[in-house]
């Protein structure tokens, strides 16, 4: 009772500071803690809000417009009522107007730290409750005060809300907001310039805006004006370095065709390449389809057989339709390239969808890589071929048994709900019942699998701003977060995955768990290591990731492998299975670091004698010419740190080195007969 009395006193003290025309009533009941109050109308005179209480906001009259807007719904509010919450401990606070007495009221709330006039967003919510009602959740620090502003973005009517506290789960994560001035479709979060920091890419028809992440966590914004893209990235975007020059190229999946934006040699501009073919693009990916070491591109076609672009190693792409999903009228929405059968050859799963009542175009496909450039659809024997309506699927080893399982999320429930499938080798077993996905009603075109809380178990982000946290036993706990589907990357380099939602970065607050990020640098394989399998072993067990360009439906997330490690302080072994067949093993890796792995050359092929080739001039300033038997040869230049700085088709013997920094490099010439090495100097 002493504590309650103290609260009463505090409220009364606040009231005496309120303006004259404000009135509030306070009643304390033994059974129901209900405060009836007129919230204070200005930021400077908020009414205290206490946990365990219900407050009534009467018709909004305050004219302090809450800015910035932390919730969704944008600007437009003109009235507000203000409260002040002060945390006495580290707690998770829930503000809710989701109360039966509020009926159909349309509420919205902003939560701030800081001083009036210079407020900083902590949280906010529009519609997480029933209908148009609000449920806002934020983590509060002991002793810190938070301003709560209900606004009239939609309605000035009065309503009730509750304040409650829960102990702060130290392993739980949430997201804070950071604004970023994206322009157009903010569809990619990926390391564009190969400096080890994930960047943000937003595009319009005539501009590519890159926010380059700096080591200090800031972003350096650069606009690259482009020719007006024949096709815009409205349906999807993918990124990959098709010409091995160290700068990522982009693919715009448009409604009538496909445009490539190819980064030039020094990353200072992009050249548009648009095909004349009609492609109703859906998910797009970069991947080495024919395993020749060159990155190809794949695009789901909504209304025809899928299309792909085979790279000859000089950057020339050949358009092909047919062979990777031939349903005549398409239905292809969510392509994802993973190795489902652990043969270290990348396979293609396509989540498909179509109306017209069990159309063949809605039957999902698994194109198993035969290793000879051909693929065979094996979805039926695997138990993955049905009329389920899906636009994407989330692949991960959910049970840490060494193979890729899948959550095929529903875009519509018309042909059944979400499907959680356990990989049992020769077939998949439906694990949906009891998993939590069987009772989750949200639908989405976006489903992705990442470890958001770094506990070593891969989670699922999909519909309704919900992360399904993996409990490791084929059950998942759905938690509503502020982040919705978007490109995923580590946008503050803290080892926890963040989400980009348009002009807002949802920064993962993280927890005490450890992590490891592995970035790959292919030599014989494509430079991004797309299609590689990365396996790590720690006390938790063995975790696996497949490096992919393009997961979910629309967005391009980071390239690399991100692992949560829980309490584990050491990774005993990291194994990389490269698309080329090379296997690299690194032992005793420290945690909470980024590990760069360059594909080893020495173990891959026999070393050719020094006399096999000549290179001239050496030293060189612009280009070098290699003489010898060059059919099928690839030139790979490594810098002093062993990183790939250039990878190019060497069939004609001429290699442009003009963009390289002055210094010494090792040229690796890889041919069918073996590898030849020579040290060259760039002037």
């Amino acid at each position: 009772m002493d504590k309650l009395a103290a609260r009463t006193l505090q409220l009364n003290q606040k009231q005496t500071k309120g303006s004259m025309n404000q009135r509030y009533l306070f009643a304390l009941a033994a059974v129901l803690s209900i405060a009836r109050a007129q919230a204070q109308s200005t930021c400077a005179s908020p009414l205290p809000a206490l946990a365990g209480m219900t407050y009534t906001v009467d018709t909004m009259i305050g004219t302090d417009v809450p800015l910035p807007v932390c919730s969704s719904g944008g600007t437009g509010a003109t009235r507000s009522e203000w409260f002040l919450y002060t945390a006495t401990d580290y707690v998770t606070v829930t503000l809710s107007s989701d109360l039966t007495q509020n009926g159909n009221t349309d509420t919205r709330v902003q939560i701030y730290s800081g001083e009036c006039g210079s407020l900083t967003c902590v949280g906010g919510d529009d519609d997480s409750g029933t209908g148009l009602l609000t449920v806002a959740i934020f983590n509060a620090y002991a002793g810190q005060s938070y301003l709560i502003a209900w606004d009239n973005r939609y309605s000035s009517s009065g309503f009730d809300f509750t304040v409650s506290e829960q102990p702060w789960d130290p392993t739980a994560i949430s997201f804070t907001n950071q604004a970023v001035s994206t322009s157009g479709n903010a569809y990619a979060a990926v390391d564009m310039n190969n400096d080890g920091y994930d960047d943000i890419v937003s595009v319009t028809a005539t501009n590519i805006r890159v926010h380059y992440q700096q080591p200090d966590g800031t972003f350096n914004m650069v606009d690259y004006v482009t020719t007006s893209a024949d096709y815009t990235a409205s349906w999807s975007m993918a990124a990959g370095d098709i010409d091995g020059n160290g700068f990522l190229d982009l693919l715009y999946g448009g409604g009538s065709g496909v445009t490539f934006m190819v980064a030039n040699a020094d990353g200072t501009g992009f050249t548009e390449v648009s095909g004349p073919q009609y492609v109703f693009s859906q998910r797009s990916n970069f991947v080495d389809i024919n395993n020749d070491g060159n990155l190809d591109a794949f695009v789901c076609h909504d209304v025809q057989p899928n299309v792909y672009y085979i790279n000859d190693g000089t950057g020339q792409l050949s358009y092909i339709q047919g062979g990777l999903g031939n349903t005549p009228d398409g239905g292809n929405y969510g392509s994802i390239w993973i190795d489902y059968n652990n043969d270290h050859k990348i396979d293609l799963f396509i989540a498909k969808c179509r109306g017209s009542n069990q159309s063949p175009a809605s039957v999902d496909q698994m194109h198993q890589n035969n290793g000879d450039g051909t693929y065979t659809d094996v979805a039926a024997p695997l138990g993955l071929a049905d009329f389920h309506l899906s636009w994407s699927s989330a692949w991960a080893d959910f049970d840490l048994d060494g193979d890729m399982d899948v959550l095929i999320g529903s875009s519509s429930m018309a042909q059944g709900g979400h499907k959680l499938m356990r990989n049992d080798g020769a077939t998949f077993t439906n694990m949906t019942v009891g998993s939590g996905f069987d009772v989750f009603g949200g639908t989405s075109i976006e489903w992705v699998a990442h470890d958001f809380n770094n506990d070593g178990r891969v989670d699922v982000l999909g519909a309704s701003n919900t992360i399904h946290f993996n409990n490791g036993d084929w059950t998942f706990t759905p938690i509503v977060v502020t982040a919705s589907s978007g490109p995923i990357a580590d946008l503050n380099n803290d080892g926890f995955l963040d989400v980009l939602n348009g002009g807002t970065i949802r920064l993962n607050t993280g927890n005490g768990n450890n992590w490891l990020r592995v970035n790959l640098h292919g030599t014989l394989s494509n430079v991004n290591g797309i299609g590689a399998r990365v396996a790590i072993t720690s006390t938790l067990g063995t975790q696996i990731r497949d490096i992919k360009s393009g997961d979910g439906f629309r967005y391009m997330s980071f390239l690399g492998a991100h692992f949560g490690l829980g309490d584990d302080e050491l990774v005993e072994q990291v194994t990389v299975y490269w698309p080329s067949g090379t296997v690299d093993v690194i032992t005793d890796v420290a945690v909470n670091e980024v590990l760069d792995v360059t594909e080893s050359l020495s173990t891959a092929t026999a070393e050719l004698p020094a006399t096999a080739y000549t290179v001239s001039p050496n030293p060189a300033s612009d280009r070098i010419t290699i003489a010898g038997e060059l059919s099928g040869a690839t030139a790979i230049l490594l810098d002093g740190a062993g990183r790939v700085v250039l990878r190019a088709n060497a069939a004609d013997g001429a290699i442009d080195v003009s963009r390289l920094a002055t210094g010494s490099y090792v040229l690796n010439l890889v041919t069918a007969g073996g590898t030849w090495k020579e040290r060259i100097t760039k002037l």
């Binding site: 719904g73 944008g74 159909n104 349309d106 529009d126 519609d127 209908g131 148009l132 939609y154 020719t227 815009t232 409205s234 349906w235 010409d243 448009g254 409604g255 009538s256 490539f260 190819v262 050249t271 548009e272 390449v273 648009s274 095909g275 004349p276 073919q277 009609y278 109703f280 909504d302 209304v303 025809q304 057989p305 672009y309 950057g315 020339q316 792409l317 050949s318 358009y319 047919g322 062979g323 005549p328 009228d329 969808c353 179509r354 109306g355 017209s356 009542n357 159309s359 175009a361 875009s411 519509s412 429930m413 042909q415 989405s444 519909a463 919705s484 978007g486 939602n501 348009g502 629309r554």
Partner: protein, 366 residues
């Protein structure tokens, strides 16, 4: 062009797919020469490489003067096609006629029928002239409809078969003198099929009796259209009197019926049972929209849009800001806009209608 030639070339590797929906091979058929120059629809030869070979029109083809047996027709509420004007014609082989099945499905047309629709703009700049862009022809052969699309030349003398799809830059001036700059889309074959199908079978959309129950100005004067079809021998008599759809732009008709008519013609070809996108909850066909739930009123969208979480209902009564339908018909983003195909600019008058309608609905949702 320079950007295309630099660094990379996209070469077509022709992959011929066994595909029952593929257009017929483009041979070079020679239509039968007929001394009276009557319409020619040789089902062994169609689609012809050029529009003129059908002889649907007499005189200068651009004038669209119908040849014998070619009957102009019109619908009560049309599909919006980026403000293009349209000429519509029907032709059936002599001695054949269509029969009525139900008000809610297209007429059952005889083999050999050609449905002809030309798309044009007036006051096209800089010459401020009429420009015909394309003539779409659907022909029924062996019980199946085939698509042909003829793209007009700049001289407006001929149109050539092309089912690859393309954009045509276009500036036209409206009655108020405002110029509209557009990228007019001529559809590829697969785009035709996406809308013109039911359970994966190609079909027409417009010629349902309920859409045709109106008067039309013929050369001989204004007449009841359905009566004209019967008189022409194109429609077997004995059908029940159709219940016509509303005119979407008739201010004397209720807002609700105008909206129902608009979504019937503009949206129902995807959002009906057996159609391309029937897995979404909307049911937009005229006979289904008496129930507001089928219009999406107070129905939550299954496919929320990135960055637009305020769109909590497909239609939120009295709340345009929260209505997904209004947002989508107001957008030109090709991954957001509705209809998905056949529109690149906003139909401002339809947005105005939908806004007025949403504001007239009692709300909010329970």
């Amino acid at each position: 062009m320079t950007r295309r030639s630099f660094l990379m070339l996209l070469a077509i590797v022709a992959i011929v797919l066994a595909c029952r929906h593929e257009p017929a091979e483009m041979a070079a058929p020679v239509p039968p020469v007929d001394s009276v120059a009557s319409v020619s629809v040789d089902l062994d030869q169609v689609p012809y490489p050029t529009l003129s070979q059908y002889r649907f029109f007499t005189g200068a083809m651009a004038a669209h003067q119908p040849n014998g047996g070619v009957l102009p027709y019109d619908v009560i509420t049309p599909l919006f096609s980026d403000y293009a004007h349209k000429f519509r014609f029907v032709w059936m082989p002599p001695g054949t006629s269509a029969s009525h099945v139900s008000d809610h499905v297209p007429l059952d047309f005889p083999n050999g029928t050609a449905l002809i629709k030309s798309f044009y703009f007036d006051n096209v700049q800089p010459a401020n002239v009429r420009r015909i862009l394309e003539t779409r022809v659907m022909i029924k052969r062996d019980g199946q409809w085939l698509f042909a699309d003829y793209v007009w030349n700049d001289e407006q003398t001929e149109a050539v078969l092309d089912l690859n799809g393309r954009f045509v830059p276009l500036t036209w001036r409206d009655d108020q003198g405002t110029d509209h700059v557009q990228q007019y889309r001529i559809p590829a074959w697969a785009e035709c099929f996406t809308c013109h199908k039911q359970n994966d079978v190609a079909m027409p959309i417009g010629p349902k009796l309920r859409n045709l129950a109106r008067t039309v100005e013929y050369a001989s004067g204004t007449a009841d259209q359905i009566g004209k079809w019967v008189d022409a021998g194109y429609l077997q008599p004995g059908f029940p009197v159709p219940q016509p759809v509303a005119r979407w732009d008739d201010p004397g008709t209720s807002l609700n019926d105008r909206v129902r008519a608009y979504v019937d013609m503009n949206c129902a070809h995807c959002h009906s049972e057996g159609k391309h996108c029937d897995y979404r909850p909307m049911r937009f066909a005229w006979q289904e929209t008496a129930n507001p739930v089928n219009l999406g009123v107070c129905v939550e969208p299954e496919d929320p849009l990135p960055g637009e979480p305020q769109l909590t209902y497909i239609v939120a009564p009295s709340n345009t800001y929260r209505s997904m339908l209004l947002h989508r018909i107001s957008s030109t983003d090709e991954a957001v806009r509705m209809p998905l195909l056949g529109r690149t600019v906003v139909h401002a008058e339809a947005v105005e209608l939908a806004t007025e309608w949403i504001n007239s609905l009692p709300g909010p949702c329970n």
